[in-house]
Symmetry: C2
């Protein structure tokens, strides 16, 4: 079965800082308050999750995640007010794109 997929990337000055996987990671952090638990739930290493968060915070216009590395539980992590706003905005964009993609998938003729 032929299917069209659209992957959304959000850039700041040409550099990616958000995609669907990073949004999943932010949602897991929001739900668990812990980067360690978030990385477990997504089957990625804590190291990798930390790197993604570092990249998001470095490239985004304002910090998205407040985190403390290490400690007994791998440090706590919370999503900033700005982070919550961009998650909402991303979900709206994704809904719009998904509707169009669904329509395209009905009409395609490959």
């Amino acid at each position: 079965m032929i299917e069209v997929e659209c992957r959304i990337h959000i850039k700041n000055d040409g550099r990616n800082f958000l995609d669907s996987f990073k949004i999943k990671l932010l949602n897991e952090i929001q739900a668990n308050g812990s980067l360690k638990q978030a990385s477990k739930n997504l089957n990625i290493s804590y190291q990798h999750a930390w790197k993604l968060i570092e990249e998001i915070n470095r490239v985004a216009p304002k910090p998205v995640v407040n985190s403390q590395r290490g400690g007994l539980h791998g440090g706590g992590a919370t999503i900033t007010e700005y982070g919550l706003q961009i998650i909402d905005e991303y979900n709206i964009i994704e809904n719009t794109i998904n509707k169009i993609t669904k329509q395209i998938n009905v009409e395609i003729n490959f």
Copy 2:
């Protein structure tokens, strides 16, 4: 500047076989009739271009490129009738998605 980008992927039974770079490669092959020239124009190795074409033909429902490997000029390559159809279809999809993305980029509030 914050910007949303949508990357289109076309899948067959869940496996990608087309994206914007592969479409560029197909367009170069169509314009030059040669995989060697196409790979030069896109600054990729002949080996890499060959691998991409092999992947497209393997996963697509029907062959997209007719190619002969090797020879004095790196072998000739042409796009099949079906290949031309899917390039057209991809361009239509891309136009639709680009219009929506442009609109989203006017409205985003990150």
